[in-house]
């Protein structure tokens, strides 16, 4: 880093932080889904990234459909594509919970394997039914620009939009959890499954919906993903490890931790990527995470009680 002046480094850090914003949103949304599933069902979903891919395929295919059939609509389709991505991922997630996950509650190590198998199957489905080639969405002009905050600092619009949407989504989710019947049922099931069942609440249904929502969120992350890179059947593999690490660094049971560590890791990774090649940046990112976890083995934000 010796060749940069202080001002340049400052500008680089600021700029890279903003270009890291999109990544942060994806990390946080992915982590959020994993957090919900693990918290309620003790299941680790290795196929979670495939739901991200599902979301981005939905976005890409919808974009293709719109540009081919309804060109007038081109500038606004994004607004509909996001709920659509959620819906598709929700639906698939709902079915997956029904037929697979519901048999695996509280056998976390086994779910790792079973959902890995699921992810292989889903990837092969993408390959067989959509095609192995990379695909990207035609994004509207207004999303692609950037905003020059100062002489050397350029901030991409898409990052800001994603940030805004992510915040909305999280607020919405919080409201859903505390204000709606379904949300309260979800909370009750997380806290005490037997008791909730005994009160006549259909915990199976609750679980299916919860799992669906978690998958739907990663579907949205997938829609966001199209602003960063093109989609391919195995595009998810790069994200699953990172999303888990976000969750683990955050403390596995802490939402605040999840946001902080999502931000921290996205920032770190985009700054590192500026100074070195992608692979070496990844190595350093992981090493930093390993060392942080060696010191804080329960994550950055964990309750101090030994379970």
């Amino acid at each position: 880093m010796g060749d940069y002046t202080f001002d340049e480094i400052y500008a680089i850090v600021v700029m890279q932080s903003f270009s890291g914003v999109s990544l942060m949103c994806i990390y946080i949304l992915m982590g959020l889904g994993l957090y919900i599933i693990f918290g309620q069902m003790g299941v680790i979903n290795m196929a979670h990234a495939e739901f991200l891919v599902l979301g981005s395929y939905t976005m890409c295919l919808f974009s293709k459909f719109v540009t081919e059939n309804m060109p007038a609509f081109e500038n606004y389709y994004v607004i509909f594509a996001i709920p659509l991505s959620f819906g598709v991922a929700f639906g698939v997630g709902y079915l997956v919970e029904w037929f697979l996950i519901s048999r695996l509650y509280h056998r976390p190590l086994d779910t790792l394997l079973a959902t890995w198998g699921l992810s292989l199957i889903m990837q092969q489905c993408f390959r067989s039914f959509i095609g192995a080639r990379e695909m990207s969405a035609d994004l509207p002009e207004w999303l692609l620009g950037s905003w020059a905050a100062s002489d050397i600092i350029d901030i991409p619009i898409s990052g800001l939009v994603l940030l805004l949407l992510t915040v909305f989504l999280i607020v919405g989710l919080a409201l859903f959890k505390t204000k709606t019947r379904m949300g309260l049922r979800m909370q009750a099931t997380t806290q005490n499954r037997e008791m909730t069942g005994a009160l006549g609440i259909n915990t199976k249904m609750t679980d299916r919906i919860t799992f669906g929502i978690a998958c739907g969120i990663s579907g949205i992350a997938g829609a966001f993903f199209t602003t960063m890179a093109s989609t391919s059947p195995s595009a998810g593999t790069n994200y699953i490890v990172d999303s888990f690490l976000v969750l683990v660094v955050g403390g596995l049971g802490s939402l605040v931790g999840l946001f902080v560590s999502g931000g921290f890791l996205a920032l770190l990774s985009s700054i590192l990527e500026f100074f070195m090649t992608g692979s070496i940046a990844k190595v350093w990112l992981y090493l930093v995470i390993f060392v942080v976890l060696m010191k804080f083995t329960r994550g950055l934000f964990s309750d101090k009680v030994r379970s």
Partner: protein, 248 residues
């Protein structure tokens, strides 16, 4: 630094809070050498938590626990065990896949390091000790049985036996007669009386008749605090205790 005491176990101002909820609150409790102490109290009083704190399973928020004048609060579980404290869990905790003999053998107090356990052999001494304990816990003709096939009461005994093999100076038992038949309870009472001759015991128990049979001193815990301490009769006659506990 608190001054030295003659007590075997001296708990002073012990507090633990879970997310602001004080499960044990400024608790002070002394246990003499050779004493059999019973702790009673309604569900959620913090009895199990006290054992967790002594045995190192939960870390105290503040206060001190000294055992033979050694501070336990900063020691790890296995160090506390090696200092001479044994503990039985509320739900029987045994190794289902292993035989009764193997269950007892794992508790045998040597060869507990990695290389020690690689070198561990079944000497005559080990076998004699285990057969002796098996005799005491009424399981001597079931040594080869797989532990998951035992009855609930027998599992409780087996766990007590695992403590005896360890030969600790202080034994802590969390509801040892839960799930036992009347006959098994009687046998257990006799067993505990016999064990108590050689060491100190802390028992948590619900069953009043059982407590009356064995206790020297009874401590009543309520909301993490000591409500009353004394002989069984004193405790039973106390109106406050009756209200929170016996009245239930």
């Amino acid at each position: 630094m608190p001054s030295n005491t003659d007590y075997l176990l001296a708990i002073e101002d012990l507090t633990v809070s879970f997310d602001g909820f004080k499960a044990v609150d400024e608790l002070t409790l002394y246990v003499d050498k050779g004493e059999l102490r019973v702790i009673i109290g309604p569900n959620g009083a913090g009895k199990t938590t006290v054992l967790d704190l002594i045995s190192g399973k939960t870390r105290a928020s503040s206060g001190s626990i000294r055992y033979n004048n050694v501070e336990l609060t900063s020691m790890r579980e296995h160090e506390i065990v090696r200092a001479g404290i044994g503990r039985k869990f509320q739900t029987p905790s045994i190794y289902e896949k292993l035989s009764v003999y193997e269950n007892l053998e794992i508790s045998y107090p040597w060869g507990r390091t990695v290389f020690g356990s690689l070198k561990f052999t079944r000497t005559k001494q080990v076998i004699d000790r285990i057969q002796d304990v098996a005799q005491q816990i009424f399981l001597s003709d079931m040594l080869e049985t797989q532990a998951e096939l035992l009855s609930h009461g027998q599992k409780q005994w087996l766990e007590i036996g695992m403590l005896l093999v360890q030969n600790p100076e202080l034994i802590m038992l969390d509801e040892p007669v839960a799930g036992m038949t009347a006959k098994e309870r009687e046998a257990t009472a006799a067993l505990l009386e016999k064990i108590a001759k050689e060491r100190s015991i802390i028992i948590i128990e619900h069953d009043m008749d059982f407590v009356a049979k064995i206790a020297d001193q009874v401590t009543v815990l309520h909301l993490g605090k000591i409500l009353k301490q004394g002989s069984m009769d004193e405790v039973r006659d106390d109106p406050v205790v009756q209200e929170v506990y016996l009245g239930h």
